[in-house]
Symmetry: D2
Subunit: 286 residues, 4 copies
Amino acid sequence: MRVQIQSRLAYDFAQPTETIAAVLAAHAPGQIVESETLTLSDGVRMAESRDPVSGARLLRGSLAGRVSLDYRAVVRIGPRLPLPPEVQVAPWSALPVEVLPYLLPSRYCPVDQFLRFAAREFGSIQPGGARALAILDWLHTNLDYVHGVSTATTGAAGTFIDRAGVCRDFTHLGLTLCRASGIPARAVAAYALALDPPDFHAVFEVFLDGGWWLVDPTRLAPIEGMVRIAHGRDAADIAFLTTAGDVMQTEMNVGVVRLDSPKLATATVQPLVKASHNPNTVEEAA
Amino acid sequence: MRVQIQSRLAYDFAQPTETIAAVLAAHAPGQIVESETLTLSDGVRMAESRDPVSGARLLRGSLAGRVSLDYRAVVRIGPRLPLPPEVQVAPWSALPVEVLPYLLPSRYCPVDQFLRFAAREFGSIQPGGARALAILDWLHTNLDYVHGVSTATTGAAGTFIDRAGVCRDFTHLGLTLCRASGIPARAVAAYALALDPPDFHAVFEVFLDGGWWLVDPTRLAPIEGMVRIAHGRDAADIAFLTTAGDVMQTEMNVGVVRLDSPKLATATVQPLVKASHNPNTVEEAA
Amino acid sequence: MRVQIQSRLAYDFAQPTETIAAVLAAHAPGQIVESETLTLSDGVRMAESRDPVSGARLLRGSLAGRVSLDYRAVVRIGPRLPLPPEVQVAPWSALPVEVLPYLLPSRYCPVDQFLRFAAREFGSIQPGGARALAILDWLHTNLDYVHGVSTATTGAAGTFIDRAGVCRDFTHLGLTLCRASGIPARAVAAYALALDPPDFHAVFEVFLDGGWWLVDPTRLAPIEGMVRIAHGRDAADIAFLTTAGDVMQTEMNVGVVRLDSPKLATATVQPLVKASHNPNTVEEAA
Amino acid sequence: MRVQIQSRLAYDFAQPTETIAAVLAAHAPGQIVESETLTLSDGVRMAESRDPVSGARLLRGSLAGRVSLDYRAVVRIGPRLPLPPEVQVAPWSALPVEVLPYLLPSRYCPVDQFLRFAAREFGSIQPGGARALAILDWLHTNLDYVHGVSTATTGAAGTFIDRAGVCRDFTHLGLTLCRASGIPARAVAAYALALDPPDFHAVFEVFLDGGWWLVDPTRLAPIEGMVRIAHGRDAADIAFLTTAGDVMQTEMNVGVVRLDSPKLATATVQPLVKASHNPNTVEEAA
């Protein structure tokens, strides 16, 4: 699938402020950035660097005054298979070392506090895909998608009590319950086709049968239409803007459009790799 | 300096439990493991893997029943310089990408909640070494080293209110205040010479002038005598034992002895590298 | 029903410490203290005062060194009816003014945080007895009675996440869910017949159809065999010992025995008053 | 001093909602309501009841649709003396029973969590007025008066970390530190002369030398010009509007004007009672 993504962010910085922006499409398995343009407002300089582990491309700089970032790209997304119930969780000793942190608690995911609940609620379900799907069902049944309930400091414990939140909150509670159930899970920031209203989206991935499987706990956008920006332990790692001080957002605009027709896409994209080991790949049939 | 370290841990696992143990001396800059032995109780198998980024060597396995780990090693530690006030903090755009996560909030370090306090208390102090030293002074003045106040779920916010805790708590609040003040900071698990009573120690490092500087916020042990085990965002990443379920600790014993005489050590260890860029190095004069 | 209650508490006070003990059977509707003795260790003086609102009798004093309190009493308990589903909750404007605080959040009962969950889970159930019974069923299904999970600072939010605790925790979550569902609810400290092992018990009361109905959210002891000590908003108000500083408990022993035979009791105790307006009364037929 | 107070509140209730409004001047020692008018919008009925303990006069009703409350009153306020350093705190056994709850933790005042900090920071200061004044100085030095930092769920622990808030937050932290230091303290809602911009004000009282002494931890308004509405353990008890469900505030307007000239007032108001025992009295010389 080919999609055109665009975002516009504008801010007012009262004083020079160290800033990281994560808005560029990642150079990551599962997607190819065919073309892109980044336009910063006059006089603004940001350095781009690519995280060698995640493929995220961060923009960094000390920003002051009125600043805008305009980003446009055409991205080809490889096929993504929905999480199957039969994929297995590996014993810890068989996990790649770099996956281990995604079993641990993080700022918004106090996994240690949810071990009892996870065992009570999901402990009897086959570990692996079936259990992750049960957690997604639980989130769907027990959380309401509502703006204005959560704030930037709300974590999974707050959302578990509130029973409401936005994509970030669904993702935090999903990450927490998966990790507390023994399933490695990491947060993903993405552009999402068909998200209404359009916005940066927070979803997550679980590591099963040797690959990362993308899921959307809000069920608001199809995983096939997501363009990955960054991944990390939780929203702290994947925020589209991280600053060392206060800043006023004056504008934010996100758009995603599909460029190829749905029918055509189905016909031409043929995954060659074994889905269970690299489910989110971009390799296609010639 | 050469030290002999040893630890003995014993546990009772009611059922087979996925486990990670971080007790081996790291293969990291600043120290050389000259010799070591690891003895697991009969029938226990754990796989060793080295984290390519941190040099930490993790033992992983599914453990059941009564299990003990005995570890002994002789480690040569390179010289470590105390943090000087004049070292500088780099702008974010000049930081290595892998340092960025150590500016962010983590499970026990809710940096986002401490931005105001950090600005109020330390904002007027020269960023860099001087500010980090001011934070260490603040911890020394405002926290009491007391067992039994904190638990495994206590984070920096709790310690800030309690004004008391153990090495882990001092470290969490130190990490939080440094990050909230713009100084990258990461937690370090170590064996520590002269710690009384002997125990696994939690300390931290700040990234200034291009290098990581080790500090002990409890001021209970000299940084020169520490053998690094692992580093990470906070205690969640560097626990000496992480398990997927409940476990009963039945024994824990740590010991560290210096093998060379202090005078001799001073004579033979000559750092060759520029301290401000790689302060904790093991390279020595021939 | 006539029961004999006894408790023995012993403490070691490192320095003179202001103390309130709530161990005496209350002079409250629903029970008559037929005889009692209180023995304090040598040299200890505590003043008794009766709270005119609750009937609780508090012992107060500045205690130092080793102190013991021995209390024994024979108490006649009036009949108590189980909460019927059909009792109604009054509109706020019809509630006695002194009942209003029991609708509000308190230290361990953050009612404001549970409004959404309460509405989601219990909002469709008839307000009044039916809804309170649904809350009790929810607690029974979703909480495990386990020692060692909660501490003295655990509130209803922690218990909601942990899904486990002791009588105090069940009571806090029950109080919180009732108040968040519009039902006035207050905590009650009691001696409880048939509690195994014997201990001070924390239960609660809901205000419906103009009277307070006693319920035991742990279902560990029959409400008919409870001797009331004090009531209040939550455990902060009804602790058996409140001190201005640290104290070491060296002994604690509670016992409750039934004096009359069950059959006899049924024969002689005849409630005359309308249960729905004063359900926990001690008035009996002559 | 004679002041004219007025408030106008307007709300939009999506559905009939149980509501308590606390806007009327209390019938309490220290002030006399000379005249007053309350105007509710058409069709709205609220019952007034007076809390026999606090003298607060609550309006209660089930409100629906657009509702406004307009209140105007002329109130004569007795003299209030500033808290003197030499007033003493009584031993717990000498406190009136009804004062005891004001030593305990409440929803927004987790006193139990602040015992260590209070002892560390204020333990060496003479208990009583001197210590309460030291707490007020600490608040003044360590907190910034800033809108937008706190929310309706923020308690003293949050404010202690944020180091910023509004009158309610200053009051919660003040109450918490006083109680944790052994000084009974209760929250007071008031109309305040000279508060800019005019608003409902939250202040507090400490119980020393047998009387309640009013203090304003924000130092934004003189205690002499305050008209008491209600008191309680914290903001949960004294909110100007408490509802059983969501409601939209559409208007809020508060005004306080002094009717007599400052000079005249000084001449005619002569407190007859001993200030140390009933500091906030309205009794005047004939």
